[in-house]
Assembly symmetry: C2
Homo-oligomer: 359 residues x 2
């Protein structure tokens, strides 16, 4: 049915291996020689072991970090699902390019290289430098009435993300984070969550950027209608169908980037509700992808918890954030770097002459 994308996906996903259990065990054994009570660094130790299992070798620190923010517009904004007008997607892309947004400040502070990618903003960026120009369309269709995108647009968006992951690997990046900007995209993420997990719309839909109670009620009804329209008779819809019918161009690009990042054995930090929806689709397509993921934070959007539970991922941070842009993913980077730094740099009991535990 969606032959082009299927072919595309095969090219992206054919080399995804599970992270190495052998290397994970080696990492655990090393951690137990370091001058600290066994296991006392908690999740830092889990992170270090996961990263060594992904990279399969000594991991250089500091990590070489990149953050990729995908921007696109959504046809569903015609239904009044957001507190902000649609043009804010365009305005915020310009704000990113002028270093004014939260993700700029965080990326600069934590030394992650930021790339902003237009995959589907409803505006012309012809003369704007600093932006990666990969516009596929000026936003998606209104999914309340027709599928969000064509099969061809889906394939193109997947390829944008996959190409960026390959370029990141080629340029020496080891840790990448994904984020997004797209007014209306929590509605897509809610519809994806319901289709993938079976959660009811009322549990997977939140207030997004801050809608009023009336708009919130309407948003839940829209998510319900969309689910019935496309997946009402299908108990287990295929992830590519979900992505095409109720996704977004930025979400499709993130799916492509996540799958290709796993192929290239990159460590991948996901951000909030939208990027986790992309990750859940990627894992539904290739389950081994899960091993490459780190959940940066737990957002305030209720659907995010549903997805993290579905993916069996524990978020590193819970700071009541709900901004997107990759902000929660960048904020988790210092924790991830801390894990690798203690792994690489701490003394052992033997080298430091410290007595081990009795009994």
């Amino acid at each position: 049915m969606i032959s082009l994308s299927t072919q595309q996906v095969k090219q992206i996903t054919q080399n995804i291996e599970l992270p190495s259990e052998h290397w994970r065990q080696r990492a655990r054994a090393h951690l137990d020689t370091l001058t600290k009570p066994l296991g006392s660094l908690g999740r830092l130790e889990d992170l270090a072991a996961q990263i060594v299992a992904i990279r399969r070798d000594a991991v250089a620190s500091p990590l070489n970090k990149g953050i990729y923010v995908f921007a696109a517009d959504h046809g569903i904004t015609a239904e009044g699902v957001s507190a902000y007008p649609r043009e804010v997607t365009y305005q915020m892309v310009l704000n990113f390019l002028r270093q004014g947004a939260a993700v700029n400040v965080l990326a600069s502070l934590h030394r992650a290289e930021l790339q902003v990618i237009d995959v589907g903003v409803d505006a012309d960026f012809d003369n704007v430098p600093g932006l990666l120009h990969h516009k596929i369309a000026k936003g998606t269709n209104n999914m309340l009435h027709e599928p969000a995108m064509s099969d061809e647009h889906l394939a193109q968006a997947l390829k944008v993300g996959a190409t960026l992951a390959a370029a990141a690997a080629a340029s020496g990046k080891t840790l990448i984070a994904i984020g997004e900007m797209g007014i209306g995209n929590t509605t897509s993420a809610s519809a994806i969550t319901c289709a993938l997990t079976g959660a009811p719309p009322s549990l997977a839909t939140g207030h997004g950027t801050g809608i009023n109670p009336e708009a919130f009620t309407r948003k839940i009804a829209i998510v319900e209608s969309i689910g019935l329209k496309y997946f009402g008779t299908s108990p287990n819809p295929q992830p590519l169908d979900i992505l095409r019918c109720v996704g977004g161009l930025e979400i499709a690009a993130m799916v492509g980037m996540i799958l290709a990042a796993a192929t290239h054995k990159l460590i991948l930090v996901i951000d909030g509700f939208i990027s986790t929806a992309a990750a859940a689709l990627a894992v539904a397509m290739v389950p081994a992808t899960q091993g490459y993921l780190i959940a940066g934070h737990q957002s305030e959007e209720p659907g995010h918890k549903v997805l993290l539970n579905h993916l069996r991922l524990l978020p590193l941070l819970t700071l009541n954030m709900r901004l997107g842009e990759g902000s929660g993913a960048v904020l988790a980077m210092p924790v991830i770097e801390s894990a690798i730094a203690v792994y690489n740099q701490m003394a052992t009991f033997t080298s430091a002459g410290v007595s081990e535990a009795q009994s």
Copy 2:
């Protein structure tokens, strides 16, 4: 009864003011002009407002950060309350000085200046450079049989911490973290927790560095005995009495540092169970001190949660750590710096030309 310390404490605490509500409101108003949905940075916004309320002015970023690790031994180790032999306190101090411990690695990665202070280690450090030499005694007394320290030693330890806080302020530090090293000191922290909060020893006692079930049972019984011995007939023991009878020299120095840091309007990150026990004593003495505290993380020690609830502090990180040394406090520093960076550096809706929310 403890006149020397009382006089000492008056000198330290007489200038502690509450953080400024006026400045907190000004900070909130500024945060609402930045290019993000209202409140969408969650606890980063709370942190920024708290810090502006503490500093009462524009806050320079990056913050000037220091971490102070206080080391001392404990007489109670004679009762077999720890998985590690007593000499590990001494050995770990040497490990700190050689940059081999977790806190060294984290302080270096996150650019915090690390100071290690001997207030009561049972060893001679006469020829050791790099250590701050403030030894008061070679450890505390065995509190199962007699008060942990004399009134004079308590006063000296408080003064060590207070002097360091004054020096930190004079050298331009704005954010300080406290940590500790002392085999046996979770037993002190448990006894302090029970005396301050009324929690039963079974809920305030944990496995420390990793004791076996038999030693754990013994540890709970010891915490119970100590509480009965000193505070059995006193429903609300005075914090200085608690500190003298069941504290430690490093804990007393931390109490002095916390109180003096509040006097000097420094932002103070506390670490795990031990440093939070010190903070709880400081707040019991001068309640306004609470406004200067940031809880870096939630440790695995069960008594830590009791204390954080008692202090109405929400930890920034929950990473299943239980190491001490200040490790959890340093790990929280990038989050705190992120809060100030977004506060100082983000664009406003007006400056960026971004449309605001429709209601």
